[in-house]
Symmetry: C2
Subunit: 198 residues, 2 copies
């Protein structure tokens, strides 16, 4: 009796294939046919799992967000417990940047996703929800750190949250080699030192 | 005798048409045919001016960079003379963000351009040159401000330059409405206040 293929597992395999195609060739060339070839499934099978490119991209993005979340948790697990809020923000921010190959693949897809979302109301709504959730998470960390006296009381937590998120602007600079990874990490450390300094 | 059409002017008209198509539909749908329709020229004429989509995108990006430069200069002209270096950096940074319609069109094209550049060695080289020129300009402003005593001597100008450039990460947050323009401006003012404070 053939082993039943796990639906979720198959979708994740396809998501990985999409990441590889996007990393190599860009989203505009990531057709259903190209992804089915990369995932080694038939076009019909691919369409069984995803009815459209947008549906495939949406799943791949959700899966990528989970992967970032796993990487953040792994990064947090190796810190002194309980971790200092500065280190929690640092790990969270660094894992959003294309500093390592696995982050680069998902970051490229994320950039393609944002561009697609500007012209597709459904994707746009999903992208906004994802970004707002990320923003809420960072703001919660900032507020907690401030409540515990790690961030000066005079700082506006909403402004500080926006500044932290805006630093994901290192992504294209890193991707194009205009800023090297150690320089990006040094700049983020500088920013966090200033945020946490009294 | 028919008025001779200025080559440069025609190319700029096409660049504007490309911006509109990219803003409305995204780069992946900005075919030569679509742009020729938008620019109201025949496909053959368009191909006379630009041999490929990449060539058209490159020109449109260079033209966009000139437009940003004009907007920065107009912004600087209305400041008290000579302008304070904090204000020069502020105008430069704000004009790089999609805070106004004309900036939004060029920012979307820029995002598409960076994504394309990752998979096209020629575009990549041009994108790197453009970004490095921009980075050099900002670093020169930071170093001058520091030499003139406006930025504390202890600050590392390379790190501060990278942090300023990274704040262009507000672009997707603004585009998707996760951060509103006044909040982005407030955050940038906060960052500059901290940079220029002793």
């Amino acid at each position: 009796m053939p082993k039943q293929v796990d639906h979720r597992e198959r979708r994740e395999t396809i998501a990985h294939a999409l990441w590889r195609v996007v990393e190599r060739q860009g989203w505009s060339r990531a057709t259903m046919r190209e992804v089915s070839r990369e995932a080694d499934v038939s076009l019909g099978q691919l369409q069984h799992y995803f009815s459209s490119r947008a549906a495939m991209l949406t799943f791949a993005m959700e899966f990528a967000a989970e992967q970032v979340s796993h990487r953040v948790n792994r990064g947090l697990a190796v810190l002194d417990q309980p971790p200092h809020p500065r280190e929690v923000l640092r790990v969270t921010l660094l894992e959003m940047l294309p500093l390592r190959p696995e982050a680069r693949a998902t970051d490229r897809m994320n950039a393609a996703y944002v561009l697609e979302a500007l012209h597709d109301p459904e994707l746009r709504e999903q992208a906004c929800v994802g970004l707002r959730d990320g923003r809420d998470l960072v703001e919660r960390l900032v507020r907690e750190a401030q409540a515990d006296g790690h961030i000066p009381a005079g700082r506006d937590p909403a402004v500080e949250t926006d500044l932290i998120l805006a630093l994901t602007g290192f992504t294209p600079l890193l991707e194009l080699g205009v800023v090297e990874p150690p320089a990006a990490v040094a700049a983020i450390d500088q920013h966090l030192d200033r945020l946490f300094s009294s």
